[in-house]
């Protein structure tokens, strides 16, 4: 009676291949799981917070003063010029104010008292 069996050497190679496949699958699974876990953790963080400093924080204060400085540096020259114009207008106001007071005093005089309507 003849019993058909596989070659012992072939069986060893197939066992090795199965182990290799299983190990690879495990590695791949772990690798994929690790990537997914990392992605999840990243999602749980709030990236904008790393760029938006809360109010009162040094970063916010710095950004505020920086904005002010930027406004000043870009428009400072023209703003200085327009403020100078306002000072000139204010100076003119002071001059006008004195003249207006004089005009008011002139208008307030009692001219009517001199109209005595007397016939000789």
């Amino acid at each position: 009676m003849r019993i058909s069996t596989a070659h012992p050497r072939s069986r060893a190679w197939s066992q090795r291949a199965a182990w290799f496949f299983a190990a690879s699958a495990l590695m791949l699974t772990l690798a994929l799981g690790g990537c997914r876990a990392g992605a999840h953790n990243t999602g749980s963080q709030t990236p904008p917070q790393t760029q938006q400093a809360p109010s009162g924080a040094p970063g916010a204060s710095s950004a505020g003063s920086s904005t002010g400085s930027t406004t000043g540096s870009t428009t400072g020259s023209s703003n200085s010029s327009s403020l100078q114009q306002l000072e000139n207008i204010d100076s003119q106001d002071q001059n006008d104010s004195q003249q207006l007071n004089s005009a008011q005093n002139d208008a307030g005089a009692n001219y009517s008292s001199q109209e005595n309507n007397t016939l000789p």
Binding site: G68, S69, T71, G72, S73, T75, G76, S77, S78, N79, S80, S82, L83, Q84, Q85, L86, E87, I89, D90, Q92, D93, Q94, D96, S97, Q99, L100, A103, Q104, D106, A107, A109, Y111, S112, S113, Q114, E115, N116, N117, T118, L119, P120
Partner: protein, 263 residues
Amino acid sequence: MLHEIQQRIGQRVRRGARKAAVVGVVGLLAAGVITPLSGFTMASSSVCGATDTACVIAFGNARIAERQTALSKLNGRVTEVNSDGRISSADNAALVGDISTNESGLTTLKGQLDGAGDAKTARDDVKLIYTQFRIFAVVLPRDYHELWLDMLTHADARLAGAEPIIQDTINGAPSGVQGQANTLFTDYKSQVSNAQAQTQAANGIIPQLTPASFNANPGAYATTFGSFKTDIQSAGTATKQTMSDLRQIVQLLKSAGAATPSA
């Protein structure tokens, strides 16, 4: 008998004194009523004799000279203000034209008076100094107020024209002072607008302020002139407040360093 006569004479004297006292009181009351209206009545004096024509002419010429002097002073003031650029050329022309009209009219009247042939004619000419010209009752009070009004109108136009510059300067100022500056600027614009409305109202009244309207109804004239004065005074108050607002804005922006560009 003699005693009775003395008593009757004494009674008559006392009655006469009472009558005189009553007449005196009535006279005083009448004077009290008339005095406040002295600008609207024609009083006679005993400066000249009834037929003293030369005296009446001299009296009239003296009154004309007083008015010419007052008009000349007003003209000098208008010229000065116009030279300083504080009123428009149109307003200057209106005032100078009115002064000139009155001056030439009085000069003509003086010539007419000088040629008067009798005291009555001369007195009629003197009367015209008051009724036709009313330099002290109408012209000077009106024109001096008008000069003030014209100056306010000119100043208000200048202040209104400065609004874009003020807004630009506030916009370029540090954000910390912009709120306060804008509050002042809001009041500034409101005061300018109010002043311009008042000056416009006052200008609309001027045509009613004439010697003819004074003669027609002195009481109504006084009321109208009162409105004219009130409008101008209100405009003056608003204009001063506008100037005060601007001064505060300038000081605020200067203290905030708006004029100093950063490096």
